[in-house]
């Protein structure tokens, strides 16, 4: 497929190459306010904790996670595999299955027309079902497995369309399916196909179209572009941004690819060992990462539109969540660790416009030399 688009710049961003990377690199110049971000809070997650319980003890895959998403905003969540980001996705949509249990926290969700937010954690499945897909939809990691292999695409659209709108006739549902498919650049004829007859990119587009079927306020996406090649990835993301502008839904986008989020997201949260270690606007995070882990993550991905520079990974591997290190979970791998890091758990606190959970920035019990230096450096920005 890449061969057929030889003349298209792989980034699909035309001539915006000379502008520095911003949160809206792909769409270029449009300022955020014009795109339906009204500032009204759509999703307010507070202290969300998800544990996997078993006879051998429980594992905290998400630990005290808090963030907000405004209407029409794209929040990116980045982290290595095993950082709890996929667990976060299922917990946000209340789809976690035993042995995963949400043991603490609340998810305040305020869909269109609702007078006040509801706490999804307290809701019964019966009430959740009314919210599902109409107000919040999900796009899963591997489109290969996200579509039912024994059903035609169309049937997988019409069942959800008619589930949430009983008045919809079979024919109207079919027409709506065709519309949705054209929305993501597919043909209406592809509705008759089985998933295995479609290419990976087509399937992924179809799942995005499916997510938009009932006009949700929030679309949660779990690494939706990891299974497709780079060209397809660009096209899908460009399409996503275009649709977001038109339909004004908010997105929580989870990926391990920080550089992709820098271009796509309005704000970014960095997860490590089940906790958010830093959160801020994409530009701030990219230009002034505060947490050593964010720095490391940034250094391990090639910048998309800057001259190639030396990449460095983060030494070591993510901690075993069954037996997390004491204090800051990142301290065994941290190049800037100092005395209290292995005993004091840093909490998320404001540093400049961002929020960071690192003793270098937010008050540790002792002011080490290293910390002071870093703080001065940070204030310089």
């Amino acid at each position: 497929m890449p061969g057929d688009h030889g003349e298209t710049p792989p980034t699909a961003r035309g001539n915006t190459g000379e502008t520095p990377p911003t949160a809206h690199g792909i769409t270029g110049e449009t300022p955020p306010t014009a795109r339906g971000i009204t500032g009204e809070t759509l999703l307010d997650v507070r202290g969300l904790t998800v544990e996997y319980v078993s006879e051998q003890g429980s594992v905290r895959a998400c630990d005290d996670v808090s963030f907000t998403v405004r209407r029409g905003e794209i929040l990116g969540v980045a982290g290595e595999s095993g950082s709890g980001k996929s667990t976060l996705i299922t917990a946000l949509t209340r789809l976690e299955r035993p042995p995963a249990v949400t043991t603490a926290g609340e998810i305040l969700f305020r869909p269109r027309g609702a007078a006040k937010p509801v706490d999804l954690v307290g809701l019964l499945e019966r009430d959740l079902r009314k919210l599902r897909w109409r107000d919040m939809a999900i796009v899963l990691q591997s489109a290969m497995n996200a579509l039912n292999p024994v059903m035609r695409l169309e049937a997988q659209f019409t069942d959800v369309l008619r589930e949430h709108d009983c008045t919809l006739s079979r024919r109207t549902a079919r027409e709506r399916t065709a519309e949705l498919l054209t929305l993501v650049g597919l043909t209406a004829g592809q509705a008759n196909r089985y998933p295995h007859e479609l290419s990976g990119g087509t399937r992924q587009r179809a799942t995005i179209a499916l997510a938009l079927a009932c006009g949700p306020d929030l679309v949660v996406m779990d690494e939706p572009t990891t299974a497709v090649d780079v060209v397809m990835q660009r096209q899908i993301l460009a399409n996503l941004l275009r649709l977001r502008e038109r339909l004004a839904f908010a997105v929580v986008f989870v990926t391990h690819d920080l550089s992709l989020l820098v271009e796509l997201a309005d704000r970014i949260a960095i997860m490590y060992a089940g906790r958010i270690v830093e959160i801020g606007t994409a530009a701030d995070l990219y230009h002034h990462p505060r947490h050593p882990y964010t720095e490391g993550l940034r250094a391990s991905f090639p910048p998309l539109r800057e001259p190639v520079r030396r990449l460095s990974g983060i030494p070591g591997s993510p901690p075993d969540l069954r037996d997390p290190p004491p204090g800051c979970a990142f301290h065994p791998r941290c190049p800037q660790r100092f005395a209290p890091c292995d005993s004091v758990l840093p909490v998320l606190g404001p540093v400049g416009d961002q929020q960071v959970a690192c003793l270098l920035h937010t008050g540790g019990p002792t002011l080490g030399h290293a910390r002071k230096e870093r703080t001065d450096d940070a204030l310089g920005h």
Binding site: E7, R132, W133, L140, P149, V150, M151, G185, T202, A238
Partner: protein, 361 residues
């Protein structure tokens, strides 16, 4: 939105459209090719069964052909006519002739549908005995095997949908344990309790003796009444074998993304369970069904014996006890053919249910 992006998207769509035309016939071909290769395999197995049938009597100690001729002579008081002797020697071996020409002659005789004459009911052709017994077995075993499959798989779907619940922890081991109880013993208990003690069902036979076999109401009603207990026995003994496998497939399928997505869509629970999870989870059970038919038939044949049901199992029992070799051979051949046919039907159902129809065996 920049211009090149739109262009590239349309290009992609067109490409997809072209691919559609190219892919369709290819898909049809895969399905047919797959069924064709299965058919070829079954034909091969048929040939193996026929060849086994040819060699078994020839490899057995003693001279079965001579034994058959002797038995016929005893029954009739005189040697059977020469053409019967010739036919027996073709079926059971003739030490004076080379093996290959015997084999060719044997195949020729099978093509003409000549399976020899029965010893126990001399001189009735075996083919007539088999023809009378086969429909009974087809109905009894066919109906009960399908019912047991549906019940077992259904139960497996339900317990697998919520693994670890009390229903699962009780039903799954229990049905597995029931699955290993021998059919004919269950049949004996059933006869004792329901026919002898309670008198709810006839003790033995396939139809009421005062009715005339054929398409008339009294006969059919009687056959139904006589068939109920055997069917119930076979269903009870064999449904358990499906529960465990289907449950495990269901549990595995539940962790698939498409089931998660179906829940996220807000579909009602039963729809997620049946349309998304079970539809996929039962595909391996259908493959296993095809493989298990051969084994299931064995148990069902023994059940026929307990009920003196006029099917292939009872015919085989009768033939074995009277050393009626021609009937034994014919029953084996016919059972094999029937099982292969059932296999092919199961394969065709699989093709209908799985659009991918990839080689999964």
């Amino acid at each position: 939105m920049t211009a090149p992006l739109i262009a590239s998207e349309t290009g992609l769509a067109q490409q997809g459209g072209a691919g559609e035309a190219a892919r369709r016939p290819a898909r049809r071909r895969t399905r047919l090719t797959w069924l064709g290769s299965r058919l070829g395999f079954y034909l091969f197995v048929t040939w193996v069964a026929i060849t086994l049938n040819f060699f078994i009597p020839r490899l057995m100690p003693g001279d079965p052909a001579q034994a058959v001729i002797q038995a016929m002579t005893q029954r009739n008081g005189q040697m059977p006519p020469p053409e019967t002797v010739h036919s027996i020697q073709l079926l059971f071996g003739n030490p004076d002739k080379p093996l290959f020409s015997q084999y060719v002659g044997y195949l020729g005789q099978l093509v003409h549908g000549d399976l020899g004459l029965s010893i126990s009911q001399y001189p009735v052709p075996v083919i007539d005995l088999v023809r009378a017994a086969l429909p009974w077995t087809l109905l009894l075993v066919g109906a009960s095997t399908v019912i047991a499959f549906v019940i077992g798989v259904g139960l497996g779907i339900v317990v697998g949908w919520r693994p670890g619940r009390r229903f699962d922890t009780v039903v799954t081991p229990l049905s597995t344990v029931i699955g290993v109880v021998p059919y004919f013993w269950v049949a004996l208990l059933a006869v004792w309790v329901f026919a002898v003690k309670l008198g709810w069902a006839p003790v033995s036979g396939g139809y009421s003796v005062d009715t005339v076999p054929g398409l008339n109401v009294p006969f059919l009603a009687g056959a139904l009444r006589y068939g109920l207990l055997p069917v119930a026995t076979i269903v009870f003994s064999s449904f358990g074998g499906w529960v465990f496998g289907q449950r495990n497939m269901m549990v595995t399928t539940l962790s698939e993304d498409y089931v998660l997505l179906a829940r996220a869509k807000g579909l009602p629970g039963w729809k997620v369970m049946l349309v998304y999870a079970a539809r996929n989870a039962m595909l391996p059970s259908i493959t296993n069904f095809a493989l298990a038919i051969g084994g299931l038939v064995g148990g069902a044949l023994l059940t026929e014996i307990v009920f003196s049901y006029p099917g292939m199992g009872f015919l085989l029992f009768d033939a074995v006890s009277k050393r009626d070799y021609p009937t034994m051979q014919a029953v084996f051949l016919l059972i094999t053919l029937t099982v292969l046919l059932a296999n092919f039907v199961a394969d065709s159902v699989y093709v209908l249910l799985d659009p991918r129809t990839r080689e999964s065996r």
